[in-house]
Symmetry: C2
Subunit: 310 residues, 2 copies
């Protein structure tokens, strides 16, 4: 029995970690958003893949919420002294992953192959699968013009007012073979859309031609977990974006955004009173502060899926 998750960075990686603890080794596959990927200082950086690798490899930094726990900053400090850009923080150890990935990609390896090799080195039993090996670049249409994703997200700290999202290259991108195989796995028991930002973490995945259809075609139930708690985002700009794009900021609007893709929807216990029309739903604690909470949410989602299959 296989479980497939769709994930962005932090919030998604937390649920993926919970799922990996509940499931037998190798049962979990995670399709990762690569729309945030960018080239910075000549280095190919895949923030969501990195967060998944660090989180599932037990190397993540729970204080920062990104990067590695055992990190040092000599590189960044020296780069600043040389006059280099320091708005995107690259730790000494994190940097090794980017330099290594960049060198491997330059040598002709696919992002899928590099990611699999890194995950193996980190001792990760789950499969971390880029949505595509082709470039897809999320761009944010704002009232201040269209911005590259990291310019909006990190450099401008999500301050510009969002009008919409574009996924440059998505129309030409092919689903990566690993993701394709995971979507078509005959023993797939559930597809979980993690509590990631729907617009910048999940929509880029869904924008890859054929991916949405593959989700619909899969016999396994598709269940999304709400990224909102009490109408607010745990972290990141989900609620702010919804407001700026004229949406009601609640779990029902998230469910409606995914629409007929969903067979089930998990909203936070704080939002239990919110009616989710047209789709089966349950409420569960989704904050996932510690490992126990991640595992509990994973169990709730898998139980929900089992009920939907029955």
């Amino acid at each position: 029995m296989k479980i497939l998750a769709l994930s962005g960075g932090i919030g998604g990686a937390k649920l993926a970690l919970g799922l990996s603890h509940v499931l037998p080794a190798g049962a979990l596959s995670v399709i990762a958003n690569t729309g945030d990927d960018f080239t910075h200082l000549g280095l190919r950086i895949s923030p969501d893949i990195d967060t998944l690798c660090y989180t599932l490899g037990g190397l993540d930094n729970p204080v920062l919420g990104w990067g590695r726990a055992d990190e040092s900053w000599a590189f960044m400090e020296t780069l600043g002294a040389l006059g280099g850009e320091t708005w995107f923080r690259l730790g000494d150890r994190d940097l090794a992953l980017h330099v290594w990935r960049t060198a491997q990609l330059a040598a002709g390896a696919t992002l899928s192959a590099v990611t699999a090799s890194v995950a193996a080195r980190f001792g990760i039993a789950s499969a971390i699968l880029p949505m595509s090996d082709d470039p897809v670049a999320t761009r944010v249409a704002t009232t201040e013009g269209t911005l590259d994703f990291q310019e909006y997200f990190v450099h401008r700290q999500c301050r510009p007012v969002v009008r919409g999202l574009e996924f440059a290259g998505a129309a030409q991108a092919r689903i990566a073979p690993g993701a394709q195989a995971a979507l078509a796995a005959p023993d797939l028991a559930a597809i979980v859309i993690c509590p990631s930002n729907p617009f910048i973490s999940i929509d880029p995945i869904l924008a890859v031609p054929g991916l949405r259809a593959a989700l619909r075609a899969a016999p396994a139930p598709v269940i999304a977990v709400s990224p909102l708690i009490g109408g607010k985002a745990v972290k990141g700009p989900t609620a702010k974006m919804m407001q700026e794009m004229g949406m009601t900021v609640d779990a029902a609007a998230v469910a409606a955004h995914y629409g007929d893709l969903l067979d089930g929807f998990v909203l936070d216990s704080a939002d239990a009173a919110t009616r989710i029309p047209g789709v089966a739903s349950i409420a569960a604690p989704t904050l996932m502060t510690g490992l126990a909470e991640k595992i509990a949410l994973a169990r709730a989602v898998l139980d929900f899926a089992a009920g939907l299959r029955a």
Copy 2:
């Protein structure tokens, strides 16, 4: 009054540091060998320029003899854990220079411009001038085949038996504008060939078309400092190479190698008895263990030059 030095890495940088202490700020220009430059892990590395920058910037590591004193190795350790190549040691702070240079070169900057910017950031008053902004790659013909320079020098630790050297790209390389201007400076009082390896540090500089002629045409005396002490190299493969290439391993052979380029030759006090035919010579202590010794040798060389000018 200007002084121009030709230098490779460690030994040359030591004399350059001595000269920089003796001369007024801005009087020293150093033409640096770039034949050792290579691309590793996608990073553009210029070992001799880096050593000059670190040494003249007071950042050098006197224990290792390369790299920075305030170095850490988190990047290298993590790269090794990922399965990356670790034979060329890149410290966390050193790495910032390579990443920054690579990004600047990719953006269209010349090596000369990047080097000048780095030197300025390090507070270096002397000019560090790449011999050329065009690629020149030293290759080592050995009994085990022709090897890329760093493969021979670092990876194989100079073990293969040398038959000769090639400077790929040299015939097409142009003297960098900064080096050209330094060679043609009207107030040039001396040209110092530092006690670097003649074959792998100085010959690549001399292989750039027009550079040898510019040295001969300069009215300033050209003085070489022997890299041998008592017929041995202080560090590095100079003596081993001379032996393998069938040369007598002594200061006279070094002077003969430079031939009619020289107006003067400085040999170590230990070799004072060695006759240097056809060129004025003095003996002086050349070991340069501390700053005082570097300054003393710089003074001896400059006094010698003044005598040759008179």
